[in-house]
Structure formats: structure tokens, C-alpha cells
């Protein structure tokens, strides 16, 4: 069905015209002011990002163990080693699984939740706060609490409930490789959905009510309103949300580590855990640096791909 009277839908963008006017009028003052504000950030960027990344690149070609001041040059040996190490390959596989699955599942749960929270109902603010709450405590604390809930013994909270309701024996939530992987993803979805729903909610509230009124006049169903109005206008929100989810997923460490310490076996070991353990605890800074460099490239490519996809979708619907 064509929504003939529906106005052209533009993705929500920050208003920038007044900024441009200001730039034209007072270019000199703005550039100095910008410089003043940019300088500390530039220093932070150089000291905390550029220098460490350059050091990592250098160490990745050496056998640096974290202690000696003159490590030997080993060429690409550290890079070749990465692809032979089963624990590293397992960490790569799990990290990708975790990042992709949490990105998809959080998105498909956060959008319906945001739509629900956008409706008027009694106690709406309380419900919104309740869903947002998991984003407040430290992830490490969430991991410890969920470790208690998912304790694989019969004394675990969830296992006790299941036994009292069904009589079933303890389920090895964190002791079985597959269940441990699924459990870490499930806890992440629980922890992040509320936060991302609030993000979508902010964008939903910016959609003018006129659009829905016009579509109603044209006889659009609820699904059609969602498909042709809400969803296209949520694409910028999806771009932001999914970028955050994907980058956080790829560099995740705290939640799986506090839940399972990377086990059982290598099943929930993440790339960041490998980086930390190999680089610091195991004094293999050279090998860990090679992983960090490769990881940076992979994350960069994933983010670029995701941004290209988001831009293409925005162009299609704008």
C-alpha cells in the first residue's frame, strides 16, 4: 500500500545550520577556541592511544616479555604463532559469536521493548527504570550475581527453582561448554536490552505524531506504520546502538570472565582475556601485541563495514 499523504521521511539529524553560520561569521575565534578545547583531548589521544598503539606495533615484531629492555626482533613469528594456537583461535571464534549474537538479539529485543515503553500505561516510569537498572551496576558485580544464580550445582538459585518446579536434576549452566556460551550471551542480553531500549525510546519520542495521524487517515495498519514510519526513522538509532554493541562485544572481557573465567576449556575465552593473560600474566607481550594489532584491524574493518551498511540503509530510506 502506498502512503500517499505521508510526508517525506528524513532520518533524524542534529541541526547544524546555525553552527555553519557561526563558523562563517567568526572563523578565527572559533578555531582558537576549538584548539583550546581540542588540545587536552589531543594530548590524551596521543599519550593513551597513539603511543601505546605504536609500542604494541613495535612489540608485535619482538620477543618482548614485559621485563627486558632490548627485546630481539622476530619478524612475523608472533603473527604466525597466533594462527597455530588453538586457544587463540577458540577465543576468536567465541568473541565473534558473542559480538554478533548479542548485537542481533539485543536489537530485536530492545526495539519492541522501546515501542512498549513508549505507550502510555500505569507505572510506565517505574517499568522504564526497572529495565534500565541492569545498566547501572558494574558488570563485574552482575557477573558475580549471575554466577550465583547460574551455579551449576543443585544449590544454585536457578537449579533450585527448576528442581522445586519440575523435579529435574541440576543443569550445568556454566560447566558445560555450550550452555556456558549461551548463558554468557543471555546475561548480556538481560544487562544491555534496557539501556538500548532507552536509546531507541529517545529516537521514538522525536518522531512527530503527525506522521502516524496521516498514516491512520490513509488506512495504514499498525504493522505498516511500524514498517514504513517507525523503522526507517529508527535507522540512525540502530546505527548508534549496533555500533556500540558490536564494538563492546568484540572487546568484551568483564562479563564472561566474571561468570566463567573463560571456561570450561576455552569455550568462553575472549580475545581480550587472551590479550591480558598472554601479555601480562604469562609475560608474552610480543605475542599479545601481535594479537592486539590484528584485533585492532579486525575491529576497524567490522566497524567500517557496519557504518557503510548503516549509511546505505539511511540513504535508501531518506
Amino acid at each position: 500500500m502506498a502512503l500517499s499523504t505521508t510526508p517525506d521521511l528524513q532520518p533524524l539529524q542534529p541541526q547544524t545550520s546555525s553552527n555553519r553560520t557561526l563558523t562563517r561569521k567568526r572563523p578565527h575565534r572559533l578555531s582558537v577556541t576549538s584548539w583550546v578545547f581540542m588540545a587536552p583531548i589531543a594530548v590524551v589521544f596521543v599519550v593513551l592511544y597513539v603511543i601505546p598503539m605504536s609500542q604494541s606495533l613495535y612489540y608485535s615484531f619482538t620477543d618482548f616479555d614485559g621485563y627486558v629492555s632490548n627485546p630481539a626482533f622476530v619478524g612475523f613469528d608472533n603473527y604466525a604463532e597466533l594462527f597455530k594456537d588453538p586457544s587463540m583461535l577458540s577465543a576468536l571464534g567465541y568473541t565473534i559469536f558473542y559480538a554478533v549474537s548479542t548485537t542481533i538479539l539485543v536489537t530485536v529485543t530492545a526495539i519492541p521493548l522501546a515501542l512498549t515503553l513508549n505507550r502510555k500505561f500505569f507505572g510506565r516510569n517505574l517499568v522504564r527504570s526497572a529495565f534500565f537498572f541492569p545498566a547501572v551496576p558494574s558488570v563485574a558485580i552482575l557477573g558475580l550475581v549471575w554466577g550465583f544464580i547460574l551455579n551449576p550445582l543443585g544449590s544454585g538459585v536457578l537449579n533450585s527453582i527448576i528442581r522445586s518446579l519440575t523435579g529435574l536434576g541440576p543443569i550445568p549452566w556454566l560447566s558445560d561448554s555450550t550452555l556456558a556460551q549461551l548463558s554468557t550471551v543471555a546475561v548480556t542480553i538481560w544487562a544491555l536490552t534496557g539501556w538500548h531500549a532507552v536509546l531507541y525510546l529517545a529516537y521514538l519520542q522525536a518522531i512527530p505524531a503527525d506522521y502516524y495521524e496521516v498514516s491512520k487517515i490513509d488506512g495504514a495498519s499498525s504493522w505498516q506504520s511500524f514498517r514504513y514510519i517507525t523503522l526507517p526513522l529508527l535507522i540512525p538509532a540502530m546505527a548508534v546502538s549496533q555500533l556500540l554493541l558490536m564494538t563492546n562485544g568484540l572487546k568484551v572481557f568483564d562479563l564472561p570472565f566474571t561468570l566463567t573465567r573463560g571456561g570450561p576449556g576455552f569455550s568462553t575465552r575472549t580475545l581480550t582475556q587472551s590479550l591480558i593473560e598472554d601479555g601480562i600474566a604469562q609475560s608474552r607481550v610480543g605475542a599479545a601485541s601481535a594479537l592486539a594489532v590484528l584485533f585492532l584491524i579486525v575491529v576497524g574493518l567490522v566497524v567500517l563495514g557496519q557504518m557503510a551498511l548503516s549509511n546505505a540503509l539511511q540513504r535508501k530510506y531518506s
Binding site: 582558537v32 588540545a39 587536552p40 599519550v47 621485563y67 594456537d85 551455579n151 550445582l153 573463560g262 571456561g263
Partner: protein, 423 residues
């Protein structure tokens, strides 16, 4: 002609640039940690980076200050294990390590090979350190750490639960131990738990027996290529995996932490756990009426204990106040220092001039521990112990789940060692 050099605009611009430059330099200095040194401040100051927490060390260090009023002691406390190791590593690299720090299994190779600690073999008090403790931190005849305690690991059992199945004496062979587990299971009692997040003490002791049979040189021989993990570890792994093959122990232990199994034991939900002497205090606190005792791990050729020498005190090779640093280490290993430390930690101290009074539950373990008759692979492995330990723990978790076999675990360890050695 106008002199632009002194124009107000120019001055404002210059002033602004100087302000920004100052802010940038200040920010850079703050971010890079420049400015005041992290080391000692005066000639009478000695710095100490402690492994034990403040509650444990305060009475000891207060006594040192009392005996040495002219020395200003600066103490910082680390968070073992990983936090301590990484902080110390960073401080050594930046030349800001404390005058006295801790050398331990996880960093001893790098500390000793890098020459970051002073040789203590010539100190007049070194004879007071137990032989096993000296050997742990010795390389090429030089002693780099003074360890004053050791810990033992074995099977801690609930006497009342074992009495229900007619237990009288600890099992003498591994088969006897399996039979005891079966008896407990048949009586509806969970027989044995051991956490999967670290090297199991039962397996460590079984491998220790193998090491004893090899004359105590097993690990050195593996590293020298004279033998292999496949040849030495497969049998102990086979014995150990029978616990899971015979369904005597739940595979859920693969995902359990030491705290979780301790908590199950305190509740009386399990008859025996594999743990170390350090756990006794907290268990007795949580379950004061429980009758407990440790027994050694029984193997095919006798019984043995897991265990290791505790971290040792090391003097920074570049200590700013080496005399005071040596004085501190001398005090820490002295009878007074060890007695005060033991009072706080209930540790099995091993210095020769002090015999600790320990809990009766440790009675069977103490003689072996004080004699150094114990084994822990990751402490004895000559190099790459942290990397191999992490690999072993993950492989054992797979073995518990039945995803691999003892033979494959041992071969994987050989492959990992070869990879770490660049072969």
C-alpha cells in the same frame, strides 16, 4: 608603522598560547606519571611492595619500625596474583619498583633472569631459610628470594560424613580412594569436589608421585627433551580422570571456583574437597563445629601432598636504600618477624629458628610441608609456567567434560611447551 609585536591582540594570542601550552604540558605530565618519583624519598626511607594485605602485615611492620626508628618505611599493598605481578612488572620497567618486593612462582623466571633482584646467598641469615624455599628462588647458585612459609594441599574431609560409611583410616592407594568415593555415593553423600578453575591438588600430588619416582628431576628432564608430558603425565591423568569416568564426581566441577566448593563443604553438602592449608581458617570460621582433617592424596606408589613454597621477599637490584632493604628482609625472616606473621596468617612457616603452633587438622601435613615434600607443577616448571598452567587448567576442564582424553591432554601440553619454546 604599527608595531604588531606588542599589539594587545598579539599579546592576548601569545598569552592564550602559553596558557594552552602550560595546560598541555601539565596534562601530559600527569598522564605520563612524570613528576615525583614513585621510589624512596630520602636516604633513610625504604619502600616495600607487600603481597599480603595490610591487616596481615601491619603488626610485623610496626615491630620493624619500633626496632628501626631511624628508617622511614613506605609500604604499598598489591592484589595478588595478577594485579601484583602486572604492577610490579610496570614498576620494574619504569625504574620505580620498591626496594623490597615479592618474587613468586609467576614472576621468578623473569626476575631471576633479568637480574632485577639482589643475590641474597651471602647474607648471614640465609641459613635460616628452609632448603626447599631456597631452592625455589635459586638460579645458578644465587638466591633471589627469602620465603618464610609454604603451603600444603591435599584432601580435606568431614570426619562425621566419612564415619557414616565406616571410614577409619585414610586410603593408601588411588583405587582405595575411588572405592571410598563410591561408598559415599552409594550412601547418598556427595563424595568429592575440587574446583576446575585451577590446578587440582589431587592431580598435582599424583604427578608429584611420578616426579618422586623420577628422582625429582621430571620437569627438568621434560624441558631438556629427555622425557615428555606424554610419558610422565598420561598415567596420573588416567587415574585422576577415573573420578569422572566412574561418575564419582560431577562434571559440574569444571565450572566451579574454589570459593564455591568451599561453601558446599561448609554446608556439609560434600564429604571431601581438594584444597590447600590456606582454606582451613575460613572453613573453621564458617563451620566451627565441623570435625575436619587433611589427608594426603593416595597414589599407586604411596601418598603425597600438593603444595609450594610461598612467595619470597626480594631486594631490588636497584634499591635506592639497599642497606635498609636488606635490614627489612632480615627482620621479615627473623624469629620475631615470622612469629608475628604466623600469628596473623596461621601460615605453615618454615624458617629454622621458629616452629609454628598449628591447627591439629594440619597435623598430618605439616611435617611433609616443613620438609619440602610436596609438588606443584607450575612452581617446578623451569619456564613459561603461567602460560602452561593456564593451558593445563583449560585442558583439564575439557577432560572433565569428556571432550578429550588423558593422552590428548598430555600431548597438547607437549605441543604447547614446544610452541612456547619456539620449536
Amino acid at each position: 608603522m604599527l608595531n604588531h609585536t606588542n599589539s594587545p591582540q598579539r599579546r592576548r594570542k601569545t598569552s592564550l598560547r602559553l596558557t594552552v601550552l602550560g595546560a598541555v604540558v601539565a596534562a601530559a605530565a600527569a598522564l605520563t606519571g612524570c613528576g615525583s618519583s614513585g621510589g624512596s624519598g630520602s636516604e633513610n626511607t625504604v619502600s616495600f611492595y607487600s603481597w599480603d594485605n595490610e591487616a596481615s602485615m601491619k603488626p610485623v611492620l610496626d615491630e620493624f619500625k619500633k626496632q628501626n626508628p631511624s628508617i622511614d618505611l613506605k609500604v604499598s599493598y598489591g592484589t595478588p596474583v595478577q594485579g601484583y605481578i602486572s604492577t610490579l612488572q610496570t614498576r620494574i620497567n619504569s625504574g620505580t619498583a620498591a626496594d623490597v618486593f615479592i618474587i613468586t612462582a609467576e614472576n621468578k623466571t623473569e626476575i631471576m633472569e633479568g637480574g632485577f633482584a639482589k643475590d641474597l646467598s651471602g647474607e648471614p641469615w640465609i641459613g635460616n631459610i628452609a632448603d626447599a624455599a631456597k631452592a625455589t628462588y635459586t638460579k645458578d647458585g644465587k638466591v633471589y628470594g627469602a620465603a618464610t612459609a609454604s603451603w600444603g594441599g591435599g584432601i580435606l574431609y568431614n570426619k562425621d560424613l566419612l564415619a557414616k560409611v565406616g571410614f577409619t583410616n585414610p586410603p593408601e592407594t588411588w583405587d582405595d580412594f575411588l572405592a571410598l568415593c563410591k561408598k559415599l555415593k552409594d550412601a547418598g553423600i556427595t563424595p568429592f569436589y575440587e574446583s576446575g578453575d585451577g590446578m587440582p591438588v589431587s592431580l598435582a600430588a599424583l604427578v608429584g608421585l611420578q616426579n618422586e619416582a623420577s628422582g625429582g628431576t621430571m620437569d627438568a628432564d621434560i624441558w631438556a627433551g629427555k622425557t615428555s608430558f606424554a610419558k610422565t603425565w598420561t598415567e596420573p591423568l588416567k587415574d585422576w580422570s577415573e573420578l569422572f569416568k566412574q561418575d564419582l564426581v560431577s562434571p559440574s566441577v569444571a565450572g566451579l571456583t574454589g570459593d564455591q566448593i568451599t561453601s558446599e563443604f561448609q554446608r556439609g553438602s560434600v564429604a571431601m574437597i581438594g584444597t590447600g592449608s590456606w582454606a582451613l581458617g575460613s572453613i573453621q570460621k564458617a563451620a566451627p563445629d565441623m570435625k575436619l582433617e587433611f589427608m594426603p592424596v593416595p597414589g599407586d606408589s604411596g601418598t603425597y601432598w600438593a603444595g609450594a613454597v610461598s612467595p619470597g621477599y626480594a631486594v631490588n637490584a636497584k634499591a635506592k636504600n639497599p642497606e635498609a632493604a636488606e635490614k627489612l628482609v632480615e627482620f621479615l625472616q627473623s624469629k620475631t618477624g615470622v612469629e608475628l606473621y604466623q600469628k596473623q596468617n596461621a601460615a605453615i612457616t618454615t624458617t629454622k629458628d621458629f616452629t609454628p603452633e598449628l591447627d591439629p587438622a594440619l597435623s598430618s601435613m605439616v611435617p611433609a610441608v616443613r620438609d619440602g615434600k610436596f609438588y606443584l607443577p607450575q612452581v617446578t616448571w623451569p619456564t613459561n609456567s603461567a602460560a602452561l598452567n593456564s593451558e593445563t587448567v583449560s585442558l583439564l576442564q575439557q577432560l572433565i567434560q569428556g571432550q578429550t582424553t588423558p593422552e590428548k591432554v598430555a600431548s597438547a601440553l607437549d605441543a604447547k611447551l614446544a610452541s612456547l619454546q619456539g620449536k
